[in-house]
Symmetry: D2
């Protein structure tokens, strides 16, 4: 997936694409819904990478654990099926001091199939607290870089 700014419907976003595989679908012949969360997860990782914060690099160079989820959800409006080409849009709804709230839309031929949301943070291990996972205050350069990609 390639992440790129993409103004649509009056709202800037980053957009990636996914083509549904046979193995993504269930006996009802539609995408098994947990797969949508995988693709929305990857859409966020692609956005971070496009902003210069590729996961492997931030784990190695910044000792970040990554971008753990505090919450994730989705509303399923219409099903997707085998070989559908999906467009996945990502935008940041809100920047908080230590959390960022993402919104996703999954579309096929301009028709909205799924709306998703994620609350994420930058995870770090607090050495002084036995390695406990904690949320890093969001670095301004991270916020600025993501905002630039989204456009």
């Amino acid at each position: 997936m390639q992440s790129s700014p993409s103004p649509t419907a009056g709202s800037a976003c980053s957009a990636t694409s996914h083509r549904d595989a046979f193995g993504d679908c269930d006996p009802a012949n539609i995408v098994y819904f947990p797969n949508f969360y995988r693709w929305l997860d990857q859409a966020t990782h692609d956005l971070c990478e496009a902003a210069g914060f590729e996961l492997t690099a931030v784990r190695r160079d910044r000792q970040w654990v990554g971008f753990p989820l505090a919450e994730a959800g989705a509303r399923f409006h219409r099903p997707a099926t085998i070989n559908d080409l999906l467009r996945i849009e990502t935008r940041v709804k809100e920047w908080r001091p230590k959390m960022f709230l993402l919104e996703h839309r999954i579309l096929r031929d301009g028709m909205l199939l799924v709306e998703g949301w994620q609350t994420r943070f930058i995870g770090v291990h607090l050495v002084e607290q036995g390695g406990r996972l904690a949320a890093l205050p969001l670095p301004p350069e991270f916020v600025a870089a993501i905002d630039r990609v989204i456009g």
Copy 2:
């Protein structure tokens, strides 16, 4: 997974269990979060089966499509990892005319890891409308049977 009534913390529920596999975990050494949705999905299917509405049977005997999701979400409080034995609790929060709202809790040794929720309906194909998927008014015997399992 076996579904059984299980009163805990003052609230009746149905409970199943899952043991995390190596392949359920990601490079951060914790369960990759979309897997939780798979297990919560199965927990609901197990509850319906325990109530006498096994998926294959309702598809064959009642021409129900199954129990599609209108919405699903989860809050991630603590991570799970390889070989953790998880307890998955399921209860119905609200019965609406054509929708039912489920609540899930995933625990390890009594500690809450994940809270989940699902909005579901009984899916049927409307023959008179070209097979369009629609929500069946919830049959009273379905509601009663689920309530009996949850206890």
Copy 3:
């Protein structure tokens, strides 16, 4: 994934690509191996589609069940990891009357990571035998079309 003829190393093949997601990887920080089988499965489906035998279409128009596997295996030479861009090559090693044997190679930057193989057939339901799954004698136009794509 797009399937296209691609002569490399003196041997014609069809080639697709896949970029590893974070969620494809396991606690050892490498692709969890069952995922390779998913991608090799999709590579075969992409080849069939490029040859004019798209899965949904053959299920609807020809009453084929699809292209079930009799056997599948893989040798793992080197691991793949997050964000690796993989090239997946597919060729037919042997056409039998009712079976076709496929060979796959997964490469990263020209380096061989995985060799895979599949034995497949065209599945049909024998109505006269209670719907039993059987292997259709391979239609000459199917063989010819696949051979044309592989080049």
Copy 4:
């Protein structure tokens, strides 16, 4: 899954079980075949754990990477479907100096559905060679412990 010795059909083995979930199945209403590799992988991990070589423990205490695969394959005799209760049998076919060859059988009600095989080694990082992954000569106590579990 619990691993336990289980002599059947004249041959000792370790046995675990798995109940197919709705989400394990594909649009043909049968288990999507890459899932079998996940369960066979877990069956091997369960065997190693029963022998005293639990994955998390050997990674932490012995600096083993785990039990990487050099090769894995399966023959699919009959399909499995939603809610099938599968019995997964595991035995060691051959001990080599640095490799062990496993054989698996997946049965439903005594009927053979899938035969699988895996070639594995104990992975270690060679510090003196820049962390290159290598195969440890199989420790005699590992071989003996596995043999004892299989019975």
